[in-house]
Amino acid sequence: MAVSDPLITIDRLKTHFFTDDGVVKAVDDVSLTIPKGKTLGLVGESGCGKSVTALSVIRLISPPGKIAGGRILMQSNGKAVDLAELSESEMRKIRGGKISMIFQEPMTSLNPVFTVGAQIMEAIQLHQDVNRAEARRRAIEMLDKVRIPVPEQRIDEYPHQFSGGMRQRAMIAMALSCNPQLLIADEPTTALDVTTQAQILELLRGLQADFGMSILIITHDLGIVAEMADDVAVMYASKVVEYAPVQELFEHPLHPYTHLLFKSRPELGKAKTEKLRTIQGMVPSPLRFPPGCKFHPRCPYQQEICRREEPELREVRPGHWARCHFAGELNYD
């Protein structure tokens, strides 16, 4: 999509894992743009490549995986830097500084033997030239911003003394402590209850308004996308299959996969006489992707050409891209 003010432009990214069983193309030719100050939602099911895409941006892919092609351009002081090309030491300055990340399981992302405060201060002192006292002051300020009650006391507590929601807040405080330009949130609320999820999403939206950072949010929940994202990319089997502004996507889903994802969830307040739509079969293994369109074995609308030829991602409606031979021609009623 043409975006006037991009922060990150992912251009034909390929991240492959060279395993004993063969090459797993976890991310295959993915192009996305994260605009400045906006939120891009990346949706898909387990194994579709959404997390690997995010980990590639922050360069946390470890062997046997590697970025096998493409560019990840980040705008920085008027220049474009290709993150895929940076050395590890250069990347270390960006990671946690200009780009930071929060994960699904806040308990496993926090070190249990250090206090929450020590871990936030470490991030601050690593990227900013401040002394301990100043780092502590900033850590308390950050904990206050993420609405941890009595932050000057809680800063000296250990992760196990925090509830699940508070741990995720502490992670957010740490991630935002260096005022990053991009926050990557990988399923940030999946491990949390609905009411806590609502708190965290509200908090992220408020912080984005204050700090002006871009957010890349990864989720399997279309509801969270509807609440948070400005643009949405739907991934299936290592590729982007649909890409559009959020409202456009929800009003006119073009790819059969997106359409079926919408229809397979019961909607609150809707009559329950109707049977739920299902998507037959299961997500294919990246070692044995089907030929042609990767969704065709599960697609109720498949034709002969789908088995033979892989469709291109093309702009079907203005600003709305889909990877389907029949996008725009299918009648979804």
Binding site: E45, V194, F250, L276, T278, Q280, M282
Partner: protein, 354 residues
């Protein structure tokens, strides 16, 4: 659905001791399930919702007697589940089955699908070897699995297929009642609806009765005839599904409904965001257990535990259900919400005191 009550839960309590010190003295109790009562009629599905730690899973396990109740009674088909012994207990164990959340840890990785589904039949001494094999094949087919997979191991299956195996294991004994404990929450979105449809089909085909435990309010609405909402070990609201979702009376139910992300990006609403976290079930708050987090709490809520009131079959446990107290503010609540009149409330109070 018939009018016959199949499951009758009466003042059920389950406390877990908290031990401390050298002698492991019991210093307190986790009041995981604290005095819950409900009935499920034959063929009916009751949804049990609440957040982690509210006691919904403990309730399910105590009902099928995987845990011994601390107090109260569970009657199944007129029989006292906790008192049952010998042949009667074995019969009950066939009639009441449970399906667990995580199909990755609830299936023994060293057993084939055949032995997993057959095990219950063997334990209960049902059928000859060949009859059991036929039954396993038949059951696998009923849950939508290819019977030729019979000699495979759980790791050869996807999450959705494994959950089908768990359902088959429960179904093989021909139960009347099944506790479904978060049966879809470990599955991918595109697979969840397959399992929901399967459960609905089986319910119709075999006239099954379900207790469907979940934190997912949309799914619970879809599958349940009635819904009970739990908070800190208590049922705070229970009603027919339509009534509960269209007309939630308890503030906690309203908060839960308001917390679900809308599927409409144009309508990002103001939601009721709860303050703080769920308090510890070891020392639940005084008065109404929800009062420290309730946006509408008043003085009486701090001091007095509200009684369970019932108006037209809609049960709730709240002091603040009055027109002036609720529905104010700029929160989006269901549109046709009708709060009970003062006369109705008084009548319900009176009935509860008797």
């Amino acid at each position: 659905m018939t009018d016959r009550v199949l499951l009758n839960v009466v003042h059920l309590k389950k406390y877990f001791p908290v031990r401390k010190g050298l002698l492991s003295r019991v210093v307190a109790h986790v009041q995981a399930v604290d005095d819950i009562s409900f009935q499920i009629r034959q063929g009916e599905t009751l949804g049990l919702v609440g957040e982690s730690g509210c006691g919904k899973t403990t309730a399910g396990r105590t009902i099928v007697r995987l845990l011994e109740p601390t107090g109260g009674r569970v009657e199944f088909d007129g029989k006292d589940v906790a008192a049952a012994q010998g042949a009667e207990l074995r019969r009950l164990r066939r009639d009441m089955q449970i399906v667990f959340q995580d199909p990755f840890s609830s299936l023994n990785p060293r057993m084939t699908i055949k032995s997993i589904v057959e095990e219950g039949l063997m334990v209960h001494g049902l059928g000859s070897r060949n009859e059991r094999l036929d039954k396993v094949r038949e059951t696998l087919e009923q849950v939508g699995l290819d019977p030729s997979y019979i000699n495979r191991y759980p790791h050869e299956f996807s999450g959705g297929q494994r959950q089908r195996v768990s359902v088959a294991r429960a179904l093989a004994l021909g139960p009347k009642f099944m506790v479904l404990d978060e049966p879809i929450s470990a599955l991918d979105v595109s697979i969840q609806s397959q399992i929901i449809n399967l459960l609905v089909d089986l319910r119709e085909k075999f006239g099954l009765t379900y207790l469907f435990i979940s934190h997912d309010l949309s799914v619970v609405e879809y599958i349940s005839d009635r819904v009970a909402v739990m908070y800190l070990g208590e049922i705070v609201e229970m009603a027919r599904s339509e009534s509960l979702y269209a007309n939630p009376l308890h503030p906690y139910t309203q908060v839960l409904l308001s917390s679900i992300p809308t599927m409409d990006p144009a309508r990002r609403r103001r939601r009721i965001v709860l303050q703080g976290d769920v308090p510890s079930p070891i020392h639940p708050p005084s008065g109404c257990r929800f009062h420290p987090r309730c946006p509408w709490a008043k003085e009486v809520c701090r001091q007095q535990a509200p009684k369970l009131l019932e108006i037209d079959g809609h049960q709730f446990r709240c002091h603040a259900v009055e027109k002036e107290q609720m529905g104010s503010g700029d929160y989006e609540l269901p549109k046709q919400r009708t709060l009970p009149s003062e006369a109705q409330l008084e009548e319900a109070e009176l009935a509860a005191t008797k």
